[in-house]
Amino acid sequence: MRASPLRDGPPRGGSQPDGPSADDPARTDAVLVDLIARIARRDEAALRTLYDRTAPKLLGVVLRIQSDRGLAEDVLQDVFLRIWQKAATYSPAAGRPLAWLCTIARNRAIDGVRRRSETQGPVTEDGEDWVERLADPHDSEGAILGRNALQACLGRLEALHRDCIVLAYCEGQSREDLALRYDRPVSTIKTWLHRGLATLRGCLDGAP
Protein backbone atom coordinates (compact mmCIF):
# COMPACT_ATOMS: atom_id res chain seq x y z
CA MET A 1 0.00 0.00 0.00
CA ARG A 2 2.94 2.26 0.47
CA ALA A 3 4.23 1.59 -2.97
CA SER A 4 2.96 3.74 -5.75
CA PRO A 5 0.62 2.09 -8.21
CA LEU A 6 2.15 4.29 -10.85
CA ARG A 7 5.68 3.53 -10.01
CA ASP A 8 5.67 -0.15 -9.27
CA GLY A 9 7.89 -2.23 -11.42
CA PRO A 10 11.53 -2.26 -12.14
CA PRO A 11 13.54 0.90 -11.81
CA ARG A 12 13.72 2.75 -15.03
CA GLY A 13 17.25 3.88 -14.63
CA GLY A 14 16.24 7.48 -14.25
CA SER A 15 14.64 7.98 -17.64
CA GLN A 16 11.11 9.24 -17.38
CA PRO A 17 8.28 8.55 -19.77
CA ASP A 18 7.34 12.21 -20.01
CA GLY A 19 10.50 13.04 -21.88
CA PRO A 20 13.56 14.87 -20.76
CA SER A 21 11.99 18.23 -19.98
CA ALA A 22 9.35 16.86 -17.64
CA ASP A 23 12.04 15.62 -15.31
CA ASP A 24 13.87 18.91 -15.20
CA PRO A 25 13.39 20.13 -11.62
CA ALA A 26 13.67 23.79 -12.57
CA ARG A 27 10.97 23.40 -15.19
CA THR A 28 8.75 21.41 -12.84
CA ASP A 29 9.21 24.09 -10.20
CA ALA A 30 8.28 26.83 -12.65
CA VAL A 31 5.08 25.01 -13.57
CA LEU A 32 4.10 24.55 -9.93
CA VAL A 33 4.94 28.14 -9.04
CA ASP A 34 2.73 29.30 -11.88
CA LEU A 35 -0.13 27.07 -10.77
CA ILE A 36 0.13 28.34 -7.18
CA ALA A 37 0.05 31.92 -8.45
CA ARG A 38 -3.10 31.18 -10.43
CA ILE A 39 -4.67 29.51 -7.42
CA ALA A 40 -3.96 32.65 -5.43
CA ARG A 41 -6.09 34.43 -8.02
CA ARG A 42 -8.90 31.98 -7.36
CA ASP A 43 -8.42 29.89 -10.48
CA GLU A 44 -10.13 26.63 -9.62
CA ALA A 45 -8.93 24.91 -12.80
CA ALA A 46 -5.37 25.59 -11.65
CA LEU A 47 -6.14 23.88 -8.34
CA ARG A 48 -7.41 20.88 -10.26
CA THR A 49 -4.24 20.77 -12.35
CA LEU A 50 -2.11 21.06 -9.25
CA TYR A 51 -4.14 18.25 -7.71
CA ASP A 52 -3.53 16.01 -10.69
CA ARG A 53 0.17 16.69 -10.56
CA THR A 54 0.84 16.54 -6.85
CA ALA A 55 -1.95 14.69 -5.03
CA PRO A 56 -0.22 11.27 -5.25
CA LYS A 57 2.94 12.67 -3.68
CA LEU A 58 1.02 14.56 -1.00
CA LEU A 59 -1.13 11.53 -0.19
CA GLY A 60 2.10 9.57 0.17
CA VAL A 61 3.36 12.15 2.65
CA VAL A 62 0.10 12.01 4.60
CA LEU A 63 -0.11 8.21 4.60
CA ARG A 64 3.24 7.85 6.31
CA ILE A 65 1.77 9.81 9.21
CA GLN A 66 -1.91 8.86 9.03
CA SER A 67 -1.90 5.26 7.91
CA ASP A 68 -5.69 4.90 7.77
CA ARG A 69 -6.44 5.33 4.10
CA GLY A 70 -9.87 6.91 4.57
CA LEU A 71 -8.65 9.38 7.18
CA ALA A 72 -5.61 10.14 5.05
CA GLU A 73 -7.83 11.03 2.09
CA ASP A 74 -9.86 13.29 4.38
CA VAL A 75 -6.60 14.99 5.33
CA LEU A 76 -5.76 15.29 1.64
CA GLN A 77 -9.02 17.19 1.09
CA ASP A 78 -8.05 19.56 3.86
CA VAL A 79 -4.61 19.96 2.35
CA PHE A 80 -6.01 21.16 -0.94
CA LEU A 81 -8.50 23.48 0.70
CA ARG A 82 -5.57 24.86 2.68
CA ILE A 83 -3.57 25.34 -0.49
CA TRP A 84 -6.56 27.18 -1.91
CA GLN A 85 -6.60 29.51 1.10
CA LYS A 86 -2.86 29.98 1.49
CA ALA A 87 -1.63 30.16 -2.09
CA ALA A 88 -1.27 33.92 -1.84
CA THR A 89 1.24 33.52 0.97
CA TYR A 90 3.60 31.32 -1.02
CA SER A 91 6.84 32.93 -2.02
CA PRO A 92 9.33 31.04 -4.20
CA ALA A 93 12.09 32.64 -2.14
CA ALA A 94 10.98 30.69 0.91
CA GLY A 95 11.49 27.32 -0.72
CA ARG A 96 10.64 25.08 -3.59
CA PRO A 97 6.97 24.72 -4.41
CA LEU A 98 6.68 20.98 -3.94
CA ALA A 99 8.44 21.28 -0.59
CA TRP A 100 5.93 23.95 0.41
CA LEU A 101 3.05 21.70 -0.57
CA CYS A 102 4.58 18.78 1.31
CA THR A 103 4.94 20.97 4.39
CA ILE A 104 1.24 21.78 4.31
CA ALA A 105 0.47 18.08 3.93
CA ARG A 106 2.76 17.10 6.81
CA ASN A 107 1.36 19.78 9.08
CA ARG A 108 -2.26 18.84 8.38
CA ALA A 109 -1.50 15.17 8.91
CA ILE A 110 0.37 15.80 12.15
CA ASP A 111 -2.34 18.14 13.40
CA GLY A 112 -4.85 15.41 12.70
CA VAL A 113 -3.10 12.66 14.62
CA ARG A 114 -2.17 14.97 17.50
CA ARG A 115 -5.68 16.30 17.83
CA ARG A 116 -7.02 12.85 18.35
CA SER A 117 -4.10 12.17 20.67
CA GLU A 118 -3.49 9.03 18.74
CA THR A 119 -0.54 7.00 19.59
CA GLN A 120 1.01 6.04 16.33
CA GLY A 121 0.08 2.65 15.06
CA PRO A 122 2.56 -0.13 14.66
CA VAL A 123 5.64 1.24 13.04
CA THR A 124 6.20 -0.32 9.70
CA GLU A 125 9.49 1.21 8.79
CA ASP A 126 12.74 1.86 10.51
CA GLY A 127 14.13 5.31 10.23
CA GLU A 128 16.79 3.83 8.08
CA ASP A 129 14.26 2.69 5.51
CA TRP A 130 13.11 6.25 4.94
CA VAL A 131 16.70 7.38 4.64
CA GLU A 132 17.24 4.75 2.00
CA ARG A 133 14.25 6.04 0.11
CA LEU A 134 16.19 9.20 -0.40
CA ALA A 135 18.47 7.32 -2.72
CA ASP A 136 15.73 5.70 -4.73
CA PRO A 137 16.62 6.37 -8.37
CA HIS A 138 13.04 5.46 -9.14
CA ASP A 139 11.79 8.71 -7.71
CA SER A 140 11.13 11.50 -10.16
CA GLU A 141 12.22 14.02 -7.54
CA GLY A 142 15.55 12.26 -7.38
CA ALA A 143 17.30 15.36 -8.59
CA ILE A 144 16.25 17.40 -5.58
CA LEU A 145 19.11 19.57 -4.55
CA GLY A 146 20.45 18.73 -1.16
CA ARG A 147 19.16 15.20 -1.20
CA ASN A 148 22.57 13.65 -1.29
CA ALA A 149 23.88 16.01 1.33
CA LEU A 150 21.02 15.19 3.66
CA GLN A 151 21.55 11.51 3.17
CA ALA A 152 25.25 11.79 3.84
CA CYS A 153 24.73 13.91 6.93
CA LEU A 154 22.00 11.68 8.33
CA GLY A 155 24.42 8.82 7.84
CA ARG A 156 26.88 10.51 10.17
CA LEU A 157 24.44 10.81 13.05
CA GLU A 158 24.26 8.31 15.83
CA ALA A 159 21.74 5.75 14.69
CA LEU A 160 19.27 6.42 17.50
CA HIS A 161 19.39 10.16 16.99
CA ARG A 162 18.91 9.75 13.28
CA ASP A 163 16.04 7.32 13.64
CA CYS A 164 14.21 9.62 16.05
CA ILE A 165 14.53 12.54 13.65
CA VAL A 166 13.46 10.57 10.63
CA LEU A 167 10.55 8.83 12.35
CA ALA A 168 9.33 12.15 13.72
CA TYR A 169 9.57 13.85 10.37
CA CYS A 170 8.33 11.11 8.11
CA GLU A 171 5.80 9.34 10.32
CA GLY A 172 4.76 12.14 12.65
CA GLN A 173 5.99 10.31 15.72
CA SER A 174 5.77 12.45 18.84
CA ARG A 175 8.33 12.54 21.63
CA GLU A 176 5.97 10.26 23.56
CA ASP A 177 5.69 7.81 20.68
CA LEU A 178 9.46 7.66 20.43
CA ALA A 179 9.82 7.27 24.19
CA LEU A 180 7.56 4.23 24.03
CA ARG A 181 9.33 2.83 21.02
CA TYR A 182 12.77 3.09 22.56
CA ASP A 183 11.65 2.60 26.15
CA ARG A 184 13.35 5.78 27.30
CA PRO A 185 12.07 8.84 29.15
CA VAL A 186 10.65 11.64 27.03
CA SER A 187 13.48 13.86 28.25
CA THR A 188 16.00 11.47 26.73
CA ILE A 189 14.18 11.58 23.41
CA LYS A 190 14.28 15.35 23.49
CA THR A 191 18.02 15.24 24.14
CA TRP A 192 18.54 12.80 21.27
CA LEU A 193 16.51 14.96 18.93
CA HIS A 194 18.41 18.08 19.87
CA ARG A 195 21.82 16.46 19.58
CA GLY A 196 20.92 14.90 16.26
CA LEU A 197 19.43 18.11 14.88
CA ALA A 198 22.38 20.22 15.97
CA THR A 199 24.82 17.78 14.36
CA LEU A 200 22.71 17.62 11.24
CA ARG A 201 22.62 21.39 10.95
CA GLY A 202 26.38 21.64 11.36
CA CYS A 203 26.95 18.98 8.73
CA LEU A 204 24.50 20.38 6.20
CA ASP A 205 25.48 23.99 6.62
CA GLY A 206 29.13 23.09 6.39
CA ALA A 207 28.55 21.12 3.22
CA PRO A 208 29.40 22.84 -0.04
Binding site: M1, R2, A3, S4, P5, L6, R7, E44, R48, Y51, A55, P56, K57, L59, G60, V61, L63, R64, E73, L76, Q77, F80, L81, W84, Q85, K86, A88, T89, A94, G95, R96, A99, C102, T103, A105, N107, W130, V131, R133, L134, D136, D139, E141, I144, R147, L150, Q151, I165, A168, Y169, C170, Q173, S174, R175, L193, H194, L197, A198, R201, L204
Partner: protein
Protein backbone atom coordinates in the same frame (compact mmCIF):
# COMPACT_ATOMS: atom_id res chain seq x y z
CA UNK B 1 10.88 32.46 25.08
CA UNK B 2 14.35 31.40 25.82
CA UNK B 3 16.78 33.99 24.60
CA UNK B 4 19.48 31.39 23.93
CA UNK B 5 19.75 31.34 20.12
CA UNK B 6 20.78 27.70 20.03
CA UNK B 7 17.82 26.69 22.13
CA UNK B 8 15.57 28.77 19.92
CA UNK B 9 16.88 27.25 16.69
CA UNK B 10 16.38 23.74 18.02
CA UNK B 11 12.89 24.65 19.14
CA UNK B 12 12.16 25.73 15.58
CA UNK B 13 13.74 22.52 14.30
CA UNK B 14 11.43 20.52 16.53
CA UNK B 15 8.55 22.65 15.34
CA UNK B 16 9.36 21.55 11.80
CA UNK B 17 9.77 17.95 12.92
CA UNK B 18 6.39 18.16 14.63
CA UNK B 19 7.62 16.97 18.02
CA UNK B 20 6.97 20.07 20.11
CA UNK B 21 4.33 19.70 22.80
CA UNK B 22 1.19 21.65 21.89
CA UNK B 23 1.70 24.64 24.22
CA UNK B 24 5.22 25.15 22.91
CA UNK B 25 3.94 24.75 19.39
CA UNK B 26 1.43 27.51 20.02
CA UNK B 27 4.13 29.77 21.36
CA UNK B 28 6.23 29.15 18.28
CA UNK B 29 3.21 29.89 16.07
CA UNK B 30 3.10 33.31 17.65
CA UNK B 31 6.82 33.79 17.30
CA UNK B 32 6.59 32.89 13.62
CA UNK B 33 3.70 35.21 13.06
CA UNK B 34 5.65 38.19 14.20
CA UNK B 35 9.34 37.53 13.82
CA UNK B 36 11.02 37.37 10.41
CA UNK B 37 14.17 35.85 11.93
CA UNK B 38 12.14 33.00 13.34
CA UNK B 39 10.50 32.43 9.98
CA UNK B 40 13.89 32.39 8.28
CA UNK B 41 15.17 29.83 10.77
CA UNK B 42 12.07 27.71 10.27
CA UNK B 43 12.42 27.93 6.50
CA UNK B 44 16.04 26.83 6.79
CA UNK B 45 14.94 23.74 8.69
CA UNK B 46 12.21 23.05 6.16
CA UNK B 47 14.80 23.20 3.43
CA UNK B 48 17.27 20.97 5.25
CA UNK B 49 14.70 18.26 5.85
CA UNK B 50 12.55 18.61 2.73
CA UNK B 51 14.20 15.76 0.83
CA UNK B 52 12.79 13.39 3.42
CA UNK B 53 9.25 14.51 2.63
CA UNK B 54 9.87 14.49 -1.08
CA UNK B 55 11.00 10.90 -0.75
CA UNK B 56 7.53 9.73 0.23
CA UNK B 57 6.22 7.09 -2.16
CA UNK B 58 3.37 8.31 -4.33
CA UNK B 59 -0.09 6.91 -3.72
CA UNK B 60 -2.88 7.76 -6.12
CA UNK B 61 -5.97 9.02 -4.24
CA UNK B 62 -9.34 7.41 -4.78
CA UNK B 63 -11.58 8.89 -7.49
CA UNK B 64 -13.93 10.45 -4.92
CA UNK B 65 -11.36 12.74 -3.35
CA UNK B 66 -11.31 15.49 -5.95
CA UNK B 67 -15.12 15.72 -6.25
CA UNK B 68 -15.24 16.10 -2.46
CA UNK B 69 -12.73 18.94 -2.64
CA UNK B 70 -14.70 20.59 -5.45
CA UNK B 71 -17.90 20.35 -3.40
CA UNK B 72 -16.24 21.98 -0.42
CA UNK B 73 -14.88 24.75 -2.61
CA UNK B 74 -18.34 25.34 -4.02
CA UNK B 75 -19.85 25.34 -0.53
CA UNK B 76 -17.38 27.97 0.59
CA UNK B 77 -18.16 29.83 -2.56
CA UNK B 78 -16.20 32.76 -3.79
CA UNK B 79 -16.36 34.99 -0.79
CA UNK B 80 -18.05 38.32 -1.36
CA UNK B 81 -15.52 41.08 -1.55
CA UNK B 82 -15.28 42.00 2.06
CA UNK B 83 -12.55 44.29 3.26
CA UNK B 84 -10.83 41.70 5.35
CA UNK B 85 -10.31 39.49 2.36
CA UNK B 86 -7.32 41.53 1.43
CA UNK B 87 -5.69 40.48 4.67
CA UNK B 88 -4.27 37.09 3.74
CA UNK B 89 -3.63 36.06 7.29
CA UNK B 90 -4.05 32.35 6.79
CA UNK B 91 -4.01 30.78 10.19
CA UNK B 92 -1.01 32.85 11.06
CA UNK B 93 0.38 34.24 7.91
CA UNK B 94 3.67 35.93 7.47
CA UNK B 95 4.02 39.17 9.31
CA UNK B 96 3.22 42.36 7.58
CA UNK B 97 5.15 43.42 4.62
CA UNK B 98 4.59 46.72 2.92
CA UNK B 99 2.13 45.33 0.44
CA UNK B 100 -0.02 43.89 3.11
CA UNK B 101 0.06 47.03 5.15
CA UNK B 102 -1.04 48.96 2.10
CA UNK B 103 -3.82 46.49 1.50
CA UNK B 104 -4.88 46.68 5.10
CA UNK B 105 -5.01 50.43 4.99
CA UNK B 106 -7.25 50.17 1.97
CA UNK B 107 -9.38 47.74 3.87
CA UNK B 108 -9.69 50.13 6.75
CA UNK B 109 -10.75 52.93 4.48
CA UNK B 110 -13.44 50.79 2.98
CA UNK B 111 -14.42 49.72 6.42
CA UNK B 112 -14.96 53.23 7.53
CA UNK B 113 -17.14 53.85 4.54
CA UNK B 114 -19.12 50.84 5.53
CA UNK B 115 -19.33 52.13 9.05
CA UNK B 116 -20.63 55.40 7.77
CA UNK B 117 -23.41 53.82 5.74
CA UNK B 118 -24.50 50.82 7.72
CA UNK B 119 -26.02 51.73 11.00
CA UNK B 120 -25.53 48.35 12.56
CA UNK B 121 -21.89 48.30 11.72
CA UNK B 122 -21.45 51.89 12.66
CA UNK B 123 -22.50 51.07 16.17
CA UNK B 124 -19.79 48.49 16.36
CA UNK B 125 -17.13 50.64 14.78
CA UNK B 126 -17.86 54.00 16.24
CA UNK B 127 -15.53 53.51 19.12
CA UNK B 128 -12.83 52.32 16.79
CA UNK B 129 -13.01 55.54 14.89
CA UNK B 130 -13.23 57.63 17.99
CA UNK B 131 -10.24 55.96 19.51
CA UNK B 132 -8.33 55.80 16.30
CA UNK B 133 -8.35 59.52 15.96
CA UNK B 134 -10.30 62.19 14.18
CA UNK B 135 -12.46 61.05 11.35
CA UNK B 136 -10.62 60.32 8.15
CA UNK B 137 -9.78 63.26 6.02
CA UNK B 138 -9.73 65.81 8.77
CA UNK B 139 -6.35 67.10 7.85
CA UNK B 140 -2.65 66.64 8.08
CA UNK B 141 -1.02 65.59 11.27
CA UNK B 142 -3.89 63.33 12.07
CA UNK B 143 -2.94 60.16 13.77
CA UNK B 144 0.64 60.97 14.63
CA UNK B 145 1.82 58.28 16.98
CA UNK B 146 -1.38 56.37 16.59
CA UNK B 147 -1.61 52.93 15.15
CA UNK B 148 -4.37 50.46 14.67
CA UNK B 149 -4.29 46.73 14.35
CA UNK B 150 -7.17 44.83 12.91
CA UNK B 151 -6.91 41.57 14.71
CA UNK B 152 -8.65 38.95 12.71
CA UNK B 153 -8.73 35.33 12.04
CA UNK B 154 -7.59 34.80 8.49
CA UNK B 155 -10.32 35.45 6.00
CA UNK B 156 -12.99 35.96 8.63
CA UNK B 157 -14.55 39.03 10.06
CA UNK B 158 -12.34 41.07 12.31
CA UNK B 159 -12.51 40.10 15.92
CA UNK B 160 -10.67 42.90 17.62
CA UNK B 161 -9.69 46.38 16.80
CA UNK B 162 -6.64 47.47 18.68
CA UNK B 163 -5.66 51.08 18.59
CA UNK B 164 -2.37 52.24 19.93
CA UNK B 165 -1.39 55.69 20.99
CA UNK B 166 2.34 55.71 21.49
CA UNK B 167 2.32 59.22 22.89
CA UNK B 168 -0.16 58.39 25.57
CA UNK B 169 1.34 54.92 25.94
CA UNK B 170 -1.98 53.23 25.77
CA UNK B 171 -3.59 50.47 23.80
CA UNK B 172 -7.33 50.27 23.44
CA UNK B 173 -9.03 47.07 22.56
CA UNK B 174 -12.39 46.83 20.92
CA UNK B 175 -13.63 43.28 20.67
CA UNK B 176 -16.02 42.83 17.78
CA UNK B 177 -16.44 39.13 17.54
CA UNK B 178 -13.97 37.69 19.98
CA UNK B 179 -15.36 35.02 22.24
CA UNK B 180 -13.34 33.21 24.83
CA UNK B 181 -14.16 29.53 25.20
CA UNK B 182 -15.90 28.78 28.49
CA UNK B 183 -13.48 28.72 31.37
CA UNK B 184 -10.78 30.51 29.45
CA UNK B 185 -9.60 34.04 28.93
CA UNK B 186 -8.39 35.78 25.82
CA UNK B 187 -5.06 37.43 26.40
CA UNK B 188 -3.61 40.16 24.23
CA UNK B 189 0.09 40.12 23.38
CA UNK B 190 2.37 42.64 21.84
CA UNK B 191 5.35 41.23 20.00
CA UNK B 192 8.08 43.49 18.73
CA UNK B 193 10.33 42.22 15.98
CA UNK B 194 12.67 39.64 17.41
CA UNK B 195 11.33 40.05 20.91
CA UNK B 196 9.49 37.76 23.25
CA UNK B 197 5.76 38.40 23.50
CA UNK B 198 4.67 40.80 26.22
CA UNK B 199 1.27 40.56 27.71
CA UNK B 200 -0.99 43.57 27.45
CA UNK B 201 -3.60 42.01 29.63
CA UNK B 202 -6.80 40.13 29.21
CA UNK B 203 -9.30 41.04 26.55
CA UNK B 204 -12.60 42.01 28.04
CA UNK B 205 -15.66 40.72 26.29
CA UNK B 206 -18.09 42.29 28.69
CA UNK B 207 -19.63 45.33 27.03
CA UNK B 208 -18.87 47.44 30.07
CA UNK B 209 -15.15 46.87 29.85
CA UNK B 210 -14.86 46.81 26.10
CA UNK B 211 -12.98 50.00 25.83
CA UNK B 212 -10.04 49.07 27.92
CA UNK B 213 -6.87 51.04 28.08
CA UNK B 214 -3.80 48.91 28.55
CA UNK B 215 -0.33 50.10 29.37
CA UNK B 216 2.09 49.54 26.52
CA UNK B 217 5.56 48.17 26.98
CA UNK B 218 8.05 50.99 26.75
CA UNK B 219 9.66 49.77 23.55
CA UNK B 220 6.32 49.78 21.80
CA UNK B 221 7.14 53.35 20.94
CA UNK B 222 9.29 51.93 18.21
CA UNK B 223 6.46 50.10 16.59
CA UNK B 224 8.02 49.03 13.35
CA UNK B 225 7.09 45.44 12.78
CA UNK B 226 5.01 45.21 15.89
CA UNK B 227 2.22 42.71 15.92
CA UNK B 228 -0.64 42.01 18.20
CA UNK B 229 -1.92 38.59 18.86
CA UNK B 230 -4.54 36.99 21.03
CA UNK B 231 -4.17 33.59 22.61
CA UNK B 232 -6.58 31.43 24.52
CA UNK B 233 -5.37 31.07 28.09
CA UNK B 234 -6.64 29.57 31.31
CA UNK B 235 -9.18 31.79 33.06
CA UNK B 236 -7.30 34.74 34.47
CA UNK B 237 -4.49 34.67 31.97
CA UNK B 238 -1.34 32.80 31.11
CA UNK B 239 0.29 31.26 34.17
CA UNK B 240 3.77 31.51 32.66
CA UNK B 241 3.93 35.04 31.34
CA UNK B 242 4.17 33.67 27.82
CA UNK B 243 1.38 32.49 25.55
CA UNK B 244 0.54 28.90 26.39
CA UNK B 245 -2.61 28.31 24.40
CA UNK B 246 -3.47 28.47 20.74
CA UNK B 247 -3.02 31.81 19.05
CA UNK B 248 -6.45 32.57 17.71
CA UNK B 249 -5.94 36.00 16.27
CA UNK B 250 -3.04 38.03 15.09
CA UNK B 251 -2.61 41.23 13.22
CA UNK B 252 0.07 43.71 12.32
CA UNK B 253 0.12 47.34 13.25
CA UNK B 254 -0.42 50.01 10.68
CA UNK B 255 0.07 53.69 11.05
CA UNK B 256 -3.18 55.42 11.54
Amino acid sequence: MTPDPEERDLRLAEYVLGTLPLPERAAVDLELAVDPAARAARDAWERRLAPLALGAPEVVPGPEVWPAIARRLAADGPRPASPIDVHPGGDLGPAANDDRIGALQGALRRWRLTAGTAAALAAGLALFIAVGGPRPGTGPGEGDGRYVAVVSRGGEAPALLVSIDTRAGTARVRPVGAQAPAGHSLELWYVGAGAAPKTLGLVGTDARVLDKALALPAEAGALAGGTFAVSVEPAGGSPTGQPTGPVVYSGPLIRE
